[in-house]
């Protein structure tokens, strides 16, 4: 004679829900993958987890800047224009964060989308705000297109491994946000 306890267990054992759970477990087991294989071989793309597309651009100072030369450093890549109010609003914070973290290896690269801007305005803006980080000139907006920049400002946070770790579309970015992201990138550098 079965006890109420036995019948309670039987109602649980003959439960179709186990089939769904078993199917989910089986599918999860079948879709296992070697660690790292999802990340390996990713082409450069403007997306978190992908290597940042490389570029070479002239700078405002007259030299050239190649992104891949900055490998091993934490990079904040900011696309901006002098006519864009949020770009202008966040530049002082970018400068302060650059000054605070540059000794630890942070590089800020401000890519001016010069195809939509005027060089004299860029020069005046940089002088007025005393910006000391490199300002690269995207004369034909080729780099902005490669990074799929749809609105200004757009900022990419690139780790020492050359991989994009975060993207912030729009602005102005708060200084705390910049500090947070800079510290996170520099922590990767120390690993």
């Amino acid at each position: 004679m079965s006890s109420p306890f036995d019948s309670k267990w039987k109602t649980w054992l003959v439960w179709p829900g186990w089939l769904l759970l078993a199917a989910a477990l089986l599918w999860t087991w079948a879709r296992r993958t070697q660690p790292g294989t999802l990340v390996q071989g990713r082409p450069p793309a403007p997306q978190v987890g992908f290597p940042a597309p490389d570029f070479t651009l002239p700078t405002l100072e007259g030299s050239t800047l190649r992104l891949s030369d900055l490998r091993g450093q934490a990079v904040i890549l900011n696309f901006w224009a002098s006519w864009c109010p949020p770009c202008k609003a966040e530049m002082p914070a970018l400068q302060r964060v650059y000054e605070a973290y540059q000794p630890q290896g942070l590089v800020v690269v401000a890519v001016n989308v010069t195809a939509q801007d005027a060089r004299p305005n860029v020069e005046a803006f940089v002088a007025e705000h005393g910006l000391t980080f490199p300002v690269a000139l995207d004369l034909d907006a080729r780099v902005a297109a490669a990074y799929r920049v749809h609105s200004l400002p757009t900022t990419f946070f690139i780790g020492p491994d050359g991989v994009i770790h975060d993207i912030v579309i729009g602005g102005p970015m708060a200084e705390a946000l910049l500090r947070q992201r800079a510290e996170a990138l520099l922590a990767l550098k120390e690993k």
Partner: protein, 250 residues
């Protein structure tokens, strides 16, 4: 992928718009679901409004607690409108705590409230999937299937759209249970756990095609493992409530 919608001189952030739209539509549906479950629409609407508000504040507070030095160096950032300065987990925990507190104060049973909020969660799930599609997040593995989409240097499974389609189906099924009065006859909490079970099952399936899953050292996709654990919990609750209902009927 459509991160920004250009409208004349304006550039509207599509992911943010989808989220706001999801919150608004979800709240509207939850208000309509409440009377079908014997709850006052105003109670549900108030609880949702204050929980979402508290969730936003909580998300910022948790972010400040996580990185106090960054905010100490720039105290004005506490009031920044940057959504990137919100901690999603902290926000959800705060919202749930406030919802539970408000429900208790107004005498709304938690389990029934969870049932009434199912349309809200279901719509939000659709919005989150479409938001991922707009941003190009949660992208799929490369595929040769004809419905693959070109994204990030490869033709990939449109996992965000798989997720959105499933979430939409879950919304339709759960709304049907509500509209036909079936959910009102179930024990409190049953609709919620059914929703969680269906959503988790679909999520586990879709996550198998993702190209950006976090993977454990043993090769398990951690998003799938989390989904299976949630599915197990939801199925057990579903079964427990079914048995309790059968026992009462007997």
């Amino acid at each position: 992928m459509l991160p920004v919608l250009p409208l004349g001189p304006l550039s509207l952030p599509v992911p943010g718009l989808l989220l706001i739209l999801g919150l608004a539509l979800g709240s509207w549906l939850a208000e309509r679901a409440a009377p079908r479950l014997g709850l006052a629409a105003k109670d549900v609407s108030d609880i949702l409004f204050y929980s979402v508000l508290a969730g936003l504040v909580g998300a910022r507070v948790f972010m400040i607690l996580r990185t106090p030095a960054a905010f100490a160096a720039s105290p004005g950032s506490v009031f920044s409108l940057n959504p990137a300065l919100l901690d999603p987990v902290g926000g959800v925990l705060t919202a749930v705590a406030v919802a539970a507190w408000l429900a208790q104060r107004r005498g709304v049973p938690w389990a029934r409230l969870a049932d009434a909020l199912v349309p809200f969660f279901a719509v939000l799930q659709v919005a989150l999937a479409l938001r991922a599609a707009a941003q190009g997040d949660l992208f799929g593995l490369p595929t040769t299937r004809p419905w693959g989409v070109a994204l990030w240097g490869a033709v990939r499974h449109p996992t965000q759209l798989y997720w959105a389609a499933g979430a939409l189906a879950v919304l339709a099924v759960t709304w049907r249970w509500l509209a036909r009065g079936e959910a009102a006859a179930w024990p409190p909490g049953m609709l919620f756990w059914r929703f969680v079970a269906l959503s988790a099952a679909w999520f586990v399936f879709v996550a198998g095609f993702r190209g950006d899953s976090p993977v454990s050292a043993a090769g398990w996709r951690l998003d799938q493992v989390t989904g299976v654990l949630i599915l197990a919990l939801a199925l057990v609750q579903w079964r427990r409530l079914s048995l309790a209902r059968a026992a009462r009927a007997a």
